[in-house]
């Protein structure tokens, strides 16, 4: 049951990623990104990462994607405007992508991953509480740095996107 679900969600994610790469219009790529983000969120739920799946759906699919769609609306002359790469660029990029994919897949399938003893693996879904506790104890410094970063990004984005007088 679990492996069927994995293959379905992985298939959805991969198909949507292919739509992103090969679609001519950027709005279709944004819709493909929605499919990939949703499929990956389902994979998170499958891998017992409840909080992460929820965050993925809320922040990514709900926030970042809307931001991207707004960006498309504000910056394209027509919603179907498309710029195509030259034939040489497309061929070179495809070759590099194929080399990357085969190389990484060969590496990860050949590497001797030592699986830990079964009792150390995540057997039941971890409580959201545990992630929150670890955020506020072990990872307190990155957490605070991230909040400062968000403030800086907020000010910076408002400054960059202002209209010139």
């Amino acid at each position: 049951m679990e492996d069927i679900a994995f293959y379905i969600f992985a298939g959805v994610s991969l198909f949507s990623a292919l739509v992103i790469v090969f679609s001519k219009s950027v709005i279709r790529a944004a819709v493909g990104l929605l499919g990939t983000l949703g499929g990956v969120a389902c994979l998170y739920f499958l891998a017992d990462a409840n909080l992460l799946g929820a965050i993925q759906l809320i922040v990514y699919a709900g926030g970042t994607l809307i931001l991207i769609v707004f960006g498309i609306m504000l910056t394209s002359q027509s919603p179907w405007a498309a710029f195509q790469p030259t034939k040489f660029q497309a061929i070179a990029a495809t070759i590099i992508g194929l080399i990357l994919a085969t190389g990484i897949i060969r590496l990860v399938t050949m590497a001797p991953w030592k699986s830990r003893a079964a009792e150390k693996l995540l057997t039941q879904s971890p409580a959201v509480k545990d992630v929150g506790e670890s955020l506020l104890t072990t990872y307190l410094v990155p957490f605070e740095v991230a909040s400062v970063l968000l403030l800086v990004v907020m000010i910076g984005a408002a400054y960059l996107a202002r209209t010139e007088k």
Binding site: A17, L52, I104, S115
Partner: protein
């Protein structure tokens, strides 16, 4: 049916999505298409983190780091869109090949 789902399934899926993201970044000439490629790459990194967390370490560290990655992706998208709008105001297009003012 294929083998039982393990770490390598997650790693292979992540490798494929990573390559597609790099391909997207390399082929798109629309700046927002490139941003979408970056999001794909960050998502593939998160799949790796979750897979290692479940099958390798059994700890929650991977989940916490993935939360930070999502946070950084959101911040990066906000800034990138602001820069693209500035670019669009100056050049009247979103085609990145037109942003060649610094070319010697």
């Amino acid at each position: 049916m294929l083998a039982e789902i393990g770490l390598q399934h997650y790693l292979v899926l992540s490798a494929l999505i990573f390559s597609l993201g790099v391909l997207c970044m390399a082929t798109k000439r629309n700046a927002i298409g490139i941003l979408i490629g970056v999001e794909l790459v960050l998502n593939s990194a998160n799949i790796n983190l979750v897979g290692f967390s479940k099958y390798q370490t059994g700890q929650l560290d991977g989940h916490v780091v993935a939360v930070f990655v999502i946070l950084l992706a959101a911040a990066e998208a906000a800034l990138a869109i602001a820069i693209f709008m500035n670019f669009y105001n100056n050049v009247r297009t979103i085609d990145v090949d037109r942003g060649d003012e610094l070319r010697g």
